[in-house]
């Protein structure tokens, strides 16, 4: 096992059937810091996240929680791991039949023996942290998309997780709310020492909050480093991503026309 981080990824390859989506990915997630995983759509970010939160199994020797090979965890150990983590899914994944406050309470009711009043107070605190203190009795269907995302974050934080995984936190949020969410993530890192892993497209947000950035492209890790190191990267694809140069400009027009009309451009 390589790396001294809280989570260490070593030579991770991932497949959906015969289709390989991650190639030999290797990096470490340091404790008490924010790691941002970036890349274009379809690069493998979400697949990598699924491995990290245990939704997609890895092979032995690929994924380590501290010194434990996660491929060898038994059911009880996976349960312990899941109690240490919080996950905000891109779609929030709220239970539509529960109020916002009841949604936040779910992890506490399932994984703790705290009394009802303590749970109620914790939910109030979490909802206030995400700016939803007046919306505890609302149903998810009554919230905007951005508010549902914040409710999902409150639920992900309910157990004061040691590790927080956040999938596209800014999607659907206005810039002001997104900036508030960034500040909250940093406050959580500082006040609770939470190790945070964020998957995002938002470069500005990533640079603002990341201690470490990873850029994936077509399943391969292009660069790992501080935001400054990533921005200074000479890798062409990294520069394309950071400068928001569309793939349209790199399309092989000749090949495209040949396939379309059977001939290339006129001489």
């Amino acid at each position: 096992m390589k790396g001294q981080g809280l989570i260490n990824v070593s030579g991770l390859n991932s497949f959906y059937g015969n289709h390989q989506v991650l190639y030999d990915v290797e990096f470490s997630i340091p404790r008490h810091q924010v790691t941002v995983i970036m890349g274009v759509s379809g690069c493998g970010k979400s697949t990598l996240l699924r491995h990290l939160i245990g939704l997609k199994p890895s092979y032995p020797g690929q994924l380590f929680l501290e010194h434990q090979d996660m491929a060898k965890l038994d059911a009880r150990e996976w349960g312990c791991y899941r109690r240490r983590i919080g996950v905000l899914f891109q779609s929030s994944a709220l239970f539509n039949s529960l109020t916002v406050a009841e949604n936040v309470a779910v992890p506490l009711r399932v994984h703790s023996r705290l009394p009802q009043e303590t749970i109620r107070i914790i939910c109030q605190i979490k909802l206030h942290l995400v700016g939803l203190s007046s919306f505890g009795e609302y149903m998810p269907s009554q919230l905007s998309g951005g508010m549902r995302k914040r409710a999902g974050l409150a639920r992900a934080l309910a157990m004061d997780p040691e590790i927080l995984f956040v999938d596209e936190p800014s999607s659907g949020l206005d810039p002001i709310t997104a900036a508030g969410l960034d500040e909250l993530l940093l406050a959580l890192r500082d006040a609770l020492g939470v190790t945070i892993i964020v998957v995002t497209h938002e470069l500005e947000s990533a640079i603002r909050i990341a201690n470490q950035m990873l850029v994936l492209d077509k399943g391969r890790l292009l660069v790992v480093g501080t935001p400054q190191e990533v921005q200074n990267s000479n890798d062409e694809r990294v520069m394309q991503f950071l400068r928001r140069i569309s793939d349209q400009q790199l399309t092989d027009t000749e090949t495209y026309l040949a396939g379309l009309v059977g001939r290339r451009t006129k001489p």
Binding site: L114, I122, H128, L129, A187, L192
Partner: protein, 125 residues
């Protein structure tokens, strides 16, 4: 993550109206269930001033904060006053993150708390 369970080290009644509770370790979810019961019982004995000495508490989570809120509420309704003493580092950050520093009295030490030489005002009157 390793967590040191909080041990209620000592409850000192300085007189019929003032009590000091020394806490040690991590004020986290695992410890809150049992500790909460004891602190709430103590609050219901109507001390005029209850000082929680957190000088040797290393970390606190939201469950620990919730417990402080419950103790504060009970004292407040009975005309008593909760003072948090010796907050530092992560514990102080959590109290500030949850804005409890705006309503709860905090002092640098138990001594300062007992002489009222600290931030906050007597909100029990």
């Amino acid at each position: 993550m390793q967590s040191n369970a909080v041990v209620l080290i000592d409850v000192r009644w300085l007189n019929t109206q003032q009590a000091v509770v020394d806490l040690h370790g991590d004020l986290r979810m695992a410890a809150v269930a049992s500790l909460r019961k004891r602190l709430l019982q103590l609050a219901r004995k109507n001390p005029r001033i209850l000082v929680l000495n957190l000088a040797t508490v290393q970390t606190i989570d939201t469950a620990g904060i919730a417990m402080l809120v419950e103790v504060f509420r009970i004292l407040q309704t009975r005309g008593g006053r909760l003072i948090l003493a010796g907050l530092h580092n992560q514990v102080l950050k959590m109290v500030q993150l949850t804005h409890l520093d705006k309503v709860m009295d905090m002092c640098d030490s138990v001594e300062a708390a007992l002489t009222s030489d600290c931030r906050g005002q007597d909100r029990s009157s």
